[in-house]
């Protein structure tokens, strides 16, 4: 027996007392400060349902049972000979069984990513998983780039990188990441594919773009795993987890994941800013919203801001980022490149990458 589960004499007595309290509601044990008194008090805090709710639910459930009873009665009195003769007609039986087996086989083949593309090609059509990239910003903030973000109260985001050895990628694949499964396609708001840079700084390799609607805790990501809803730790602000973007990795197989969060009462997703101590680089694409009077409004920081050219288009380069409180942080290791292209705003950001590297990555992005 496991030593941790050994029960002492005191434990045995406690168990007996608990049973006694729960069965008798032992008021005598309610003296202050004793363990048994504590148990008796605890047992005295049993929540009770509103009677109207109890009654309404009962009516609803009993109605379901009555309907079921009715259906079964009708089914029971169905002429048994008819049922028997239909099923006993051998060609029909064979045809139905064969169809079901075929459907089952096709279902299994479609469910397995490795056989899905092959089967689709064999059947003469392309099977392509399309995930529409959720807009990272509902509206580009009407923001004076010389000052830090103002509207931060209801915005939530989390950017983090994790050490994630390659051998554990199977966990990601099994749990619903759309890449690196073949045939996946992540669409931009303008209908184009998510551009994958053909150039990356030395030591880095592209590890996919992911739009995942799921629970990161289930995947074992430590950043959220410590958030205990059972009472421990500091709770995260409330949010509905919506989209995660896996945007890159480095030679140590560390991934950068930008998690876009939607808080309660918040209208749509709002991209606030990058903020992470160990982030390497990332690319975020969001729809560009044009204002008649101003054209496209960019959200850029104020650190050493300068205009550069990317793919013959004007772009802006700056240093620094915003912290979790929405305050501007002068961080010279954090470089950003922002430009508008094909109806989308591209934001390439990374730590310790000089301007030339960012421009090289940007130029290597396919335009369509």
């Amino acid at each position: 027996m496991n030593d941790r589960h050994e029960l002492t004499e005191q434990d045995q007595k406690l168990l007996e007392k608990v049973e006694q309290i729960l069965s008798n509601g032992n008021d005598a044990e309610r003296e202050r400060d004793s363990l048994y008194g504590f148990c008796a008090h605890l047992a005295g805090t049993v929540p009770q349902a509103d009677q109207s709710f109890r009654q309404q639910l009962e009516t609803r459930l009993v109605g379901i049972v009555q309907q079921r009873k009715l259906r079964k009665t009708q089914s029971r009195y169905m002429p048994t000979q008819t049922r028997k003769s239909l099923w006993s007609w051998r060609p029909l039986r064979w045809a139905l069984t064969g169809s079901m087996l075929l459907l089952l086989l096709l279902g299994i083949m479609f469910a397995i990513p490795q056989t899905r593309a092959v089967l689709a090609a064999w059947l003469g059509f392309s099977f392509e998983q399309q995930v529409e990239l959720q807009p990272l910003a509902v509206a580009v903030l009407d923001h004076d780039w010389r000052s830090p973000l103002v509207e931060t109260g209801d915005q939530s985001f989390e950017v983090y990188s994790v050490d994630f050895p390659e051998e554990r990628w199977t966990l990601i694949e099994e749990s619903g990441f759309s890449t690196p499964n073949p045939g996946s396609r992540v669409m931009l708001p303008n209908g184009g594919d998510f551009p994958i840079p053909s150039y990356l700084p030395e030591g880095y390799r592209w590890q996919g773009i992911v739009a995942m609607e799921g629970n990161l805790m289930e995947l074992g990501f430590p950043s959220l795993a410590h958030q205990s809803w059972t009472g421990g730790g500091s709770p995260m602000p409330p949010y509905d987890l919506r989209v995660d973007y896996l945007v890159g990795g480095d030679r140590m197989d560390r991934l950068l994941i930008l998690t876009q969060l939607q808080t309660e009462g918040q209208q749509g997703l709002v991209f606030q800013a990058f903020h992470a101590a160990e982030t390497h680089f990332g690319l975020v694409i969001q729809p560009a919203e044009k204002k008649e009077s101003e054209g496209v409004v960019f959200l850029v920081g104020s650190g050493d801001l300068q205009e550069v050219i990317v793919n013959t288009l004007p772009a802006w380069w700056y240093r620094g980022t915003w912290n979790a409180a929405g305050e501007w942080v002068t961080d010279n290791t954090w470089n950003n490149l922002v430009w508008e292209q094909g109806g989308c705003i591209y934001h390439l950001a990374g730590q310790d990458f000089p301007l030339e590297e960012l421009v090289s990555i940007a130029i290597s992005l396919p335009s369509k």
Binding site: L42, E58, I64, V65, K69, W229, P238
Partner: protein, 232 residues
Amino acid sequence: MNSNLALSQTPNTYRSISDDVVLLYTKKTLRTIEGKDIFMNTNQEKELILIAQEDPQAFKRLYDHYFPRLYAYVSYRVGRVQDAEDLVAETFLKAIEGIESFRWQHENSFAAWLFSIARNLISNFYRQKQRWETVPLDELPDLQSSSLLPEDVALEKEKFRSFRRLINTLTPRQQEIITLKFFGGLRNQEIAGVLGIDERAVSAHLCRGLQSAHRKYINEFAGTEERNPYER
């Protein structure tokens, strides 16, 4: 009447007379005991579960038996009345859907099955919610012992909230076991079935949890002039 159908007059028997008779059960009248706590022995419950798939009266009896316990358990876990009502309703709806496929295994299996449904729904609820929150007093459930006086009701709710906060400082397993025991009214064996662990582990976690909660309770109020919210 279809000649293939026949009713057995032998009480408590369930069998197929022929291939054409899907289900045959006796028309035995079920005794309904009015009152808060309805005692059911193993055979009665087994019988009820079989009949409850189609018999509203039988289902009602199961409902009466389990509703107060399930509601108390869920309320303790989620706090807010509205959330508890949603989850309890969903639990019973899922139970109705699944009761046909439920297979009696031993005397604790139905309670374990039912509370497992609730437990999973609560887990999903918190997974979506991603946080623990303090529930306002007026959104907490009434207690069974609540008097009609508003000030007493408020005190009871405050007491409930304080205990709930205390329980939620324990380990997740201890929380589960204490709430299943004290509010779900499950036996240790049934709790073991819900959590998929050994019964002795349940007993050990229960003892450690209660001792730990009690210590925290003492530490919180020992040597202070603050009124102990657990006392009325």
